[in-house]
């Protein structure tokens, strides 16, 4: 049904290629799945949790949509919203870039944390956002994550972090690197307090985030076919001077090598997390 509709639109689109205005309108309402190449009506995609109805590809989610999918309606109360981007190295153009991005994305940083309920169970939830400098971890992300961990310890709540990140925030240099140590130290305290931490890896989770809190979940879940790794595929290819095998660094690859507990489709994430919370108490 939808496919017929899309095909019609597709034909029309080809005819209209000269009409720039019409094209813009199309781009606004339709998206192309980069895996199966189907054109999907955006609203249909969002209704399907941003998973391609045709091939099942999990599109990247904004923190806002993710929270909507995971938290019980109206329960999410943000913490650490006042922790904002800093420019410790006085890196040229950085804050300006951040300002433009804030305006464009309507979010303040690459992670949003808060306390919420999942099927009635209270948790601390942190959700990274790839739309903000590729979800990179600078001081603000490190601070917000650490605050989330410390809040979980203080309130004796389970912690759930949804990861998506290109790695450390380059513009904050060594300060970003140290956020890896800071967040990992906080997770250690959470473990000592006997609390549960579920890490959910989504596309992509790489670099400094993989080499810190993302890999430290007591339970690690991943969405299907997410890119997860420490070094980026391009860097590896340049180093070893050969092409990487198909599926390298995918969720399935990590599962096979024993680094994650379970691959869970987006439609089942909330119920799976809820079930874990119920059993672990």
């Amino acid at each position: 049904m939808i496919i017929d509709k899309v095909k019609k639109i597709n034909d029309k689109e080809e005819k209209r290629t000269k009409n720039v205005e019409a094209q813009d309108m199309m781009i606004g309402k339709w998206v192309k799945c980069d895996r199966c190449k189907e054109i999907i009506y955006k609203e249909d995609l969002h209704k399907n949790l941003s998973v391609c109805p045709n091939c099942g590809k999990h599109f990247r989610l904004s923190s806002r949509r993710r929270i909507k999918q995971i938290a019980d309606e109206g329960t999410f109360v943000e913490i650490g919203a006042d922790i904002l981007t800093k420019d410790p190295l006085n890196f040229e153009g950085y804050l300006k870039k951040v300002e433009i991005l804030k305006e464009k994305t309507k979010i303040e940083e690459a992670v949003k944390c808060g306390i919420c309920e999942i099927e009635g169970k209270k948790v601390v939830l942190g959700v990274m956002d790839g739309n903000f400098l590729m979800g990179s971890m600078g001081s603000a992300v490190g601070e917000r994550i650490t605050l989330a961990v410390e809040t979980a310890i203080k309130e004796k709540l389970p912690l759930i972090l949804f990861c998506v990140s290109g790695g450390a925030r380059m513009q904050e240099g060594i300060i970003s690197l140290m956020q890896m140590a800071k967040t990992s130290a906080a997770i250690e305290r959470l473990n000592q307090a006997g609390l549960l931490y579920i890490s959910v890896l989504t596309d992509p989770t790489t670099g400094g985030v993989t080499a810190s809190f993302a890999s430290l979940g007591e339970i690690i879940l991943a969405e299907p076919d997410a890119l997860i790794g420490f070094a980026g595929p391009r860097v590896i290819e340049q180093t070893i001077k050969q092409k990487l095998p198909e599926g390298f660094q995918s969720s399935e690859f990590l599962l096979e090598h024993g680094f994650i507990d379970k691959i869970v489709e987006r439609k089942d994430l909330k119920s799976t997390i809820s079930k874990i919370l119920e059993i672990t108490g």
Binding site: S139, T146, Q171
Partner: protein
Amino acid sequence: MSKKTLSAWDKVLLARSASRPKSSDYIDEIFTNFIDFSGDRCFGDDKSIITGIAMLEDIPVTIVAQQKGKTAKENIERNFGMTNPEGYRKALRQMKQAEKFNRPIITFIDTPGAYPGIGAEERGQGEAIARNLMEMSALKVPIICIVIGEGSSGGALGIGVGDKIVMLENAVYSILSPEGFASILYKDSSKAKEAAENMKITAKDLKKLDIIDEIIKEPSEGIEENFDEVTEEIKNYLIKNLKKLLKMDKQKLLEKRYEKYRKIGQ
């Protein structure tokens, strides 16, 4: 070469130079009775990291040290100081042993970064580094980390969480190599020199940013010329600080370590 003329990029080149002393040189000079131990009891032995036990005067210590080669042949064997997951796991195994026997830990950092290879990813490079960061934050013995040459990215931090972080005057410590940084932010790896200046990677910059605790001076005529002076200074620093840290209540030690990282970027 007078000190004042050294740019950040000059220091990068110095830190990487083949003639610069490697971890094993420091171990030989500073400690006695060093016995090296191998393996992660899981996959293999990573020769980019030397681990073992030794005496620092009358203090038994555990040593974890990234080792670059001095010759092309040794460099291949040592993987140019680029650590694989089994290296981080070997380090952690030794550090856990140190904790068990209440021995302080001294780490020497000298790496272009964690190895970006197929095997490294298959064996969980990210997990190995993450685990070290987490465990090192809570080891109940004093840890002093010394950056002697190149301290690059998570590969360096993977053995770099401690109570005191020390850098040699001409060592560098950065989030990524200046080449990598330039290729990401300036889309041009040839701008590495420019990147190095902006990245704040020298000992002086990092002391100012409160990331490191101490700078060990290097002789102006070059570290190779007066190596004794440098090792003597490191030795004195280690003894003085370990004595203090060993006296500290364990809970307080860990509290202070947590705070040290907690405040970065706050």
